[in-house]
């Protein structure tokens, strides 16, 4: 493929710059879409890598008249299907119709929705010690509520509720900060 050959020569051409730029913008949404349809963190990483490769390899089939995010989302959906077929794992929690509805929701999501999450890092600092600990156990260590409740000696329902409250708190925080910057979604 010519695109790949260009890269092998070590020469970076305009097409490469273009696809890189477009993908950088589309990637947060595609990543969130994958999160919405694949629950396991490790599987998601794997799939995201396959999608990135597929986007670059099939860029010559992208019609510039169409929104890039929508096209990339289509590539993501196809890779997801391939993934399910190859792995034969029960990765899919949702039926195909739900996945399609979600694909549309992500394609049409305003850019501001993803931009306001840039405040997340700041907002994480506002969590108290226990909130931060819960976040780390869930997101860094990948523990599910049952395992967290074992670790912290808390009832499972308390852990689930606390995680839900943390997300609500963070959501409110990023919206507040985005609104303050005049970029609310």
């Amino acid at each position: 493929m010519s695109f790949k050959n260009t890269l092998m020569d070590g020469h970076i051409d305009e097409t490469t710059r273009q696809v890189t730029r477009l993908w950088t913008l589309a990637q947060p949404k595609v990543s969130a879409f994958v999160t919405a349809v694949v629950r396991d963190f490790k599987d998601r990483d794997d799939l995201m890598q396959d999608i990135a490769v597929a986007v670059f390899e099939s860029f010559d089939r992208y019609d510039p008249e169409r929104p890039f995010v929508q096209w990339a989302m289509g590539v993501a959906r196809n890779q997801f299907k391939v993934y399910l077929r190859q792995r034969k794992r029960h990765l899919a929690v949702f039926d195909p119709e739900t996945i399609e509805v979600l694909e549309t929701a992500f394609s049409e999501m305003p850019a501001a929705a993803s931009r306001e999450l840039d405040f997340l890092q700041d907002c994480l600092k506002s969590l108290d010690g226990r909130g931060r600990e819960l976040c780390e156990l869930r997101y860094q260590d990948g523990l599910k509520p049952a395992a967290i409740s074992e670790t912290l000696k808390l009832p499972g329902t308390a852990v689930r509720k606390a995680l839900q409250r943390i997300r609500e708190q963070l959501r409110a925080c990023v919206e507040r900060k985005a609104a303050a910057e005049g970029m609310g979604s």
Partner: protein, 450 residues
Amino acid sequence: MSRDIDELINGYLDESLSEEESPELADWIKADPAHARQFARAAMLHDRLQSELNAGIEGDEADDDAEAGNVVAFPGASVGRWLIPLAAMIVLLMTLLLREAPPQKRASEAPPEIGGFATLAHSVDAHFAESKALTIGQRLEAGAIQLAAGLIRIQFDSGVEVTLQGPAHYELLKTNLTRLNSGLLTANVPPGAEGFRVDTPTAEVTDLGTSFGVHLDEDGASHVSVFDGEVEVAEPDSGEKKRLKEGEQAVVTSDRKLESAEFDAKPYGRIWPISFGVVESTGSFELAPPWPRRPALINSDKHIYLFSDGYRRRLRHPLLVNISEPGEVVLRDELTPKVITVGQIVRSFIVQHQPESSMPRPEAKRARGSITFDRPILGLITQLEELRASSGRFSKRKVRGQPRTQLEFTGTPAGDRVTLSADRRTLTVDLAAPNGSTDVLRVIIDARPP
């Protein structure tokens, strides 16, 4: 709707939805595009939270100055995910496209067509009794393994690695439940696979994120030694439990008494190298003992020590290595730098030569040796910048401070030499550590199942 919708959404994100609840959530999503948008936004926050918090790990564990350059987050993490310079992005994409294994091949790496939940990863002089002989690469499902002699290493799909020393009778029951009826084993349980259990006739050993050993003696007592992390040992009849930390040992006697015991790693002397995939070592090479594990404390004029650094893991960020091609490196311009791409399953080891005497010496102490792994070496990290960037990425605890020295490829008598064999399995080093300094390099092994 039987449950509050927010609870359902959060249940999905926390992987705690029941089989009945998933379709309930799906129906709600389909009922209204506004619902789909609400769920999409929740998933987006969840996705970003995961990226932010994991980007933090690298930042916390490596020094700030180690982040520059080659720990670029893509695509899973995000300190700079939105700020990656275009050029860096392109380099990453090039490495993505040029990686050795195409996506199709990599995706089929965990054999999906064949059943089972583990793979026989390695065997050394293994003889099997009664049960059929097992071959390397063979998928294993629930069943008993009668190992008459020799050693085998089993790689579970969950990431757990169990090394078994014969004679032993070991049963795989479920992906996270096994039973040792006789013999000796070590288990390495990476983060995410906690809860892995080894039962014995007298004890239940539950991992809490760790590396540990279990062996049954002739009297039927079960000895449990913890090399890293923490395990829980229970005597099932009385329900008595004990938590053991690294460097601790307990025994459940044949009359079912749970007692603390003196830590003794000697029984694991033979199994230890195999559990790390080390086939052979020659010259000055020594595998660091199970305990104590702090490299800073291990000085030796004679020995080059190999330390395991963390667990088998999938790279979440690209990793820059300095030597990636077979051959000898004597001069700095013979380095063959390369980026190991995201998604690759690796294991990291540290090679250290730290002479003990602090007295000034006219010349550097030299140590030579080679070490052979049962899996290919993907790359070696020998230069300061890359050593620092990779420090703390593989084990959560800081086994050592920031590296201060690097290998010196000067071609002079005081220079270092490193050779990677043609089959990538053997590393030969000839190291000169000048006065009071330490030579350190990191070895990155391909840890995919065979």
